[in-house]
Symmetry: C2
Amino acid sequence: MTAPIYLGVVGVGGVGTAFLNQLARLPNAPQLILLARSTQTLLAPTPAYSPAIPAADWKTAVDTPALTKKGALSADEIASYLAAAPGRAILVDNTSDPQLAGQYPVFLRQGISIVTPNKKGFSSDLALWKEIFAAAAQGNALVYHESTVGAGLPVLSTLRDLVATGDEVTRIEGVFSGTLSFLFNTFAPVGGAGGGKWSEVVAQAKELGYTEPDLRDDLNGMDVARKLTILARIAGLDVQAPDAFPIESLIPAELAGLPASADGVAQFMARLPEFDGQMAEIKERAEKAGKVVRYVGSVDVATKEVRVGLQQFNKDSAIAGLKGSDNIISFYTRRYGSNPLIVQGAGAGGDVTAMGVTADLIKVMQRLH
Amino acid sequence: MTAPIYLGVVGVGGVGTAFLNQLARLPNAPQLILLARSTQTLLAPTPAYSPAIPAADWKTAVDTPALTKKGALSADEIASYLAAAPGRAILVDNTSDPQLAGQYPVFLRQGISIVTPNKKGFSSDLALWKEIFAAAAQGNALVYHESTVGAGLPVLSTLRDLVATGDEVTRIEGVFSGTLSFLFNTFAPVGGAGGGKWSEVVAQAKELGYTEPDLRDDLNGMDVARKLTILARIAGLDVQAPDAFPIESLIPAELAGLPASADGVAQFMARLPEFDGQMAEIKERAEKAGKVVRYVGSVDVATKEVRVGLQQFNKDSAIAGLKGSDNIISFYTRRYGSNPLIVQGAGAGGDVTAMGVTADLIKVMQRLH
């Protein structure tokens, strides 16, 4: 009864694979007509855009003679292919590629909606942010990116609801990195004792797979800064770039010059114990004030201040009580008064990130009919 | 460019008034063509359905000769009027009227979407719940009722996203009543000492305006039971009625027979101190176990168990740490693992309840175009 909706998916990493598994189980799923990985693109043949790619069996679908196989396509080529489909089209970008994100306006202007957990398009230069939403309006297309902050947690949808209904968001504060959450919940637990040395906790997080391949990408605070940039912009602040505000890096200045290679990571880990004393001091200073230290991001809407770094919190606060690698996001608003609206839970991981993408996809499909 | 959407609003109490204020400030607001209070209905004149009622000045609009004034209309009459409007129509029910809720299928079958904080339609007999969603499908209309649980907090939208994307919700647990949250956070604070006698805390809540006019409507647990019924049904359980599971009432059996009048309330308050000893015992029993007592609701999806009543919680749990009259809702799911997805904040009050209604209205408008 309703016209079919056509779907292109780029990226088959952790999130991409989890997303395809969820897509395969979706009732009334859209027609998957393009699946691109770094070196290969699988397509439903033109001009019929049929048969579709079976999401459940995408790994073996490459051997299906009925489907078209190509090498890597440019964003322009993908956009042209999707725009010519016989119905509304959606691009799901499951990469973290800044190049592809920079091309979102090309898709949107041609009426192709975007659903993505890729932070790059929304947290880089302000000009790109503005161009994305202008292109969406121009192309009558939609942009949903819930999973760019807090993975599947209802963070952006909640903030957008607050803003759209006329509430005044005064402050947003929280722990936005699963890795940094784990590091500080372990290093400086509310109970006080235990915790171990900083370098040991970092090594443990690395062994448990809680960090990026190069764990300095977690410790430098840039991932958190990108999330704060997105939140601040939705709250109405014109943040020029993700480094346009103070970001406290947990990479000691003395180690900042190490190469961005596997060897650089090894050297970094080997020298990190030299700085255990510094981190112990930070922890003890908080202890003496009856508090704990946590790595947080905050947006103060009235003063237009965005900052990312270490801060002390009362032991009975929600941020101090966080467990494992959970995220927590507190929205202070005029309507909610002194007690904030809080969202808390796992803010990283393939399945929950993909859940945010799938939920967005469902909403976009509902709006496109 | 898009066809106008027509809006009928019933109820101008606390939530209704707050909603109309939010509606008045909404960009691209729908045309308000019907505003009904208990004894009077204001309408945009037929057949033009124009001029619309000014949401900002609805109190004085009754004196506008250009608008039609009538007495109370039946649900059938309201539905006929809205269905004949020259575009898609939405009914916002800001009452808590079970009669009107029972008529939702009449509206939905005629293509009129429903947005409401009224719990009655979704928490009464299972047959009505099923009829509502069948009628919506039949009439190609939408039903949004976020504010029926946790007011403007993103509770139902989150649960629906979890279910729709294929997560397996195993357990839902939380504090669902602002009144009961305040009573137990005050009576049995995590700090232990203080708190005062149960009857004093109840009297304090009444004086602060935190209770229903007849505070026994809070203490009997039925409001919480209705919310649990809604959550359990969205999670997939066929709960027959809001009293089809164990509900622990905080009204002592000896006082259950008091009349449902203002005099009954006065007698209840006068005799409540007789039961302070019982409540102190419950509190002390928890203390001895190193815990605190809270009034919670829970849905165990696997065992299909729904229950509402007192339960002990560890002092470092999120439920124990709740402040003021906040609600907290924890979703335990397969994807989220041992740490639940948590939503927390004010779960009552005109402004935040209306915010949930307005946010739903925006979503319905986006889907209707």
